[in-house]
Assembly symmetry: C2
């Protein structure tokens, strides 16, 4: 799919997924696109855990029961390595965001939908439980989980500000 089509078609699918499985080759292609994302100082502190089977996704759904995790046939968990940096900078936030962005677009380019699930893992309790489910040690931080699959019906989309409200030329307006 053309890049601009993918960017325009992408949305946050907060509803249910169909049970149809996603081929491992597609999940690998999505992960590869994520790993090609920009990374601060080339530290590449992002690690991915691909959950190919429904029962693997269910382990996370048992911790935080969003519609996506309860129904998606597969998912990719995005973690950052807190030791993977060079002082004085820490680009964990940027690095996981760039990787997740490229994976969301890749999923759309292959005909799937996804959603950026981060807030369910903000609490210490869910963060620790999810890390344990993923076999990740304390040096890793689970940043976002991307359920991936086909949508069970059309997902809702939220209103967006206009181009003019967010873009200026030369100097900022307002």
């Amino acid at each position: 799919m053309n890049f601009f089509e993918a960017a325009q078609q992408r949305y946050s699918h907060k509803e249910r997924f169909l049970p149809d499985s996603v081929p491992e080759s597609a999940l690998n292609q999505i992960a590869t696109a994520g790993l090609a994302a920009p990374t601060g100082n080339n530290t590449q502190c992002v690690k991915l855990v691909i959950l190919r089977e429904r029962d693997e996704v269910q382990k996370l759904a048992d911790i935080v029961g969003t519609e996506g995790l309860k129904t998606a046939p597969s998912a990719i968990a995005v973690l950052t390595d807190s030791e993977g940096h060079r002082a004085p900078y820490n680009f964990e936030m940027e690095d996981y965001s760039t990787a997740a962005t490229q994976m969301l677009l890749a999923a759309v380019a292959l005909g799937y939908v996804s959603v950026w699930l981060d807030s369910p893992f903000f609490s210490d309790e869910t963060q620790k439980a999810a890390r344990t489910a993923l076999g990740a040690s304390d040096r890793y931080h689970l940043r976002v989980v991307l359920p991936i699959g086909l949508p069970d019906g059309e997902g809702s989309r939220r209103d967006k500000l206009s181009f003019e409200e967010r873009v200026s030329y030369g100097v900022m307006q307002g």
Copy 2:
């Protein structure tokens, strides 16, 4: 251009740019792709300033003289609005990162190169000077500037870790 081609071709162009100007329509298309990026809680806290002319880019080059700013015919500055949030969350880091990622890919999809320039604006002094040059008040934070144009020669690329070093299936390895 196909999404996956754009993701694989993108790299950080740290060298000089050719003087050939970038049409306003292309800059608008790149900005539009950035605004279509995921945004936490749909707050859309990212604002863009498009620098269409060399003399506008030069204002930033006068503050921080990277090769990109000294030579690029155009650029897009990415700012976040510190008041554009809903408590308790602040997604400024994620939001500017997702927008910048999609703009870098969009530039590549249109045949241009770019680079993520953030560290030159980390100091209070350069941050303030650049905000002033962009006409941005204190409520905005200049996060990254993306010089955009054609490369003056082939840019260097850094080595990347392998897929196997960064991806696990089901549970993390290592």
